[in-house]
């Protein structure tokens, strides 16, 4: 069973919901090692996406949804996560251009392209205590699952689980990119907010795929 536009729009709705639910937690994380606006930024961004979702053409394909997310986040987030996630969704859209239905290879390609977009934009490396530390294991897990013949749902589940571990892995780190890098050793013991929102978004992707499978 492949994933289509309905999955993509469901993913947006689930993302908006989970970001709204975790707004305060993301703010709290960002207050510890940043400027305290990550929850607000992401919530503003996904609320704006949600408001535009009905404007999608009837024959929209998943890439159109991803592109809508991209441009809206870029225009509305107002913090580093805007260009970063925006570029991620833009590159993801590019990876599945023209495809109405996404198979396992496409799903893995979306995640890889998103991660590569964030690296292209922000130049973070593994261990810099950024969202990349959630994306990297997610991409690897997705690729491994796909190589083992996993379904689209299983690929996204694997990615979400790995992102959760990746987000947790940022806690003992010193930041070398982003605002948290100002803090030096004081960042140790705090989870990176962008890594946390990454896990929320990838969990929403898997949840939406599970709903699609169960319908």
């Amino acid at each position: 069973m492949t994933l289509g536009t309905e999955w993509a729009t469901d993913w947006v709705r689930a993302s908006a919901a989970v970001i709204a639910e975790n707004r305060v937690e993301l703010i709290t994380l960002d207050r510890e090692i940043g400027d305290g606006d990550h929850g607000e930024n992401m919530d503003r961004g996904f609320s704006a996406v949600l408001a535009k979702l009905d404007g999608l053409a009837d024959d929209a394909i998943p890439a159109d949804v991803l592109k809508l997310v991209a441009t809206t986040l870029i225009s509305t987030v107002g913090g580093a996560s805007g260009p970063l996630f925006g570029t991620a969704y833009l590159k993801a859209a590019g990876a599945v251009a023209g495809r109405a239905e996404l198979d396992g290879a496409s799903v893995a390609a979306i995640l890889r392209a998103a991660r590569d977009g964030i690296v292209l934009r922000g130049k973070a490396e593994a261990g810099d205590k950024t969202m990349i530390d959630a994306w990297n294991p997610a991409v690897e897990a997705a690729d491994a699952a796909h190589a083992n013949g996993a379904s689209e749902l299983e690929i996204l589940e694997a990615a979400a689980t790995a992102a959760a571990e990746g987000a947790a892995s940022t806690e003992p780190l010193i930041a070398r990119k982003g605002r948290a890098s100002y803090l030096g050793e004081r960042a140790i013991g705090h989870r990176d907010p962008g890594a946390q929102s990454t896990l929320l978004l990838l969990r929403a992707a898997a949840d939406s795929a599970r709903n699609a499978a169960s319908e």
Binding site: D35, G78, P83, R121
Partner: protein
């Protein structure tokens, strides 16, 4: 015609104040403030930055100066959305915003070309 400048700051006050300051030594240069979020809060706005680059470009190119890292990310993203022709006329200066902004403004005022103005931003020092 001269190279135009865009000042990208997380604060609209900083960007606007820098236009006032640089204006003193660069009466004829197009200086455009792109500070704050769309609703005037602290942060950066893709739309403000993109519009500012467009406004500052008279054909001789634009040098963009930024404050913190997320301003740079926003500016780089704005560049990605330009067509190749326009993008070829834009430089992101690797320089501190205020000090580099004034130095770049003087370089533009005295007829510096695109790369010259971007380089001038980077040589800003505190002796001046």
């Amino acid at each position: 015609m001269t190279v135009g400048l865009v000042f990208v700051s997380h604060s609209s006050k900083i960007a606007e104040g820098l236009v006032d300051l640089a204006r003193q030594m660069a009466a004829d240069v197009t200086l455009v403030a792109a500070g704050g979020t769309d609703d005037g809060g602290i942060g950066t706005s893709f739309d403000r930055v993109a519009a500012a680059i467009d406004e500052a470009d008279s054909g001789d190119g634009v040098v963009v100066l930024c404050d913190l890292g997320s301003a740079i990310l926003t500016a780089e993203t704005a560049l990605d959305f330009l067509d190749d022709d326009s993008r070829a006329r834009v430089r992101l200066a690797d320089a501190p915003l205020v000090e580099g902004g004034v130095a770049a403004a003087v370089a533009a005022q005295t007829g510096g070309d695109l790369d010259g103005v971007a380089a001038a931003a980077g040589t800003a020092n505190a002796s001046a």
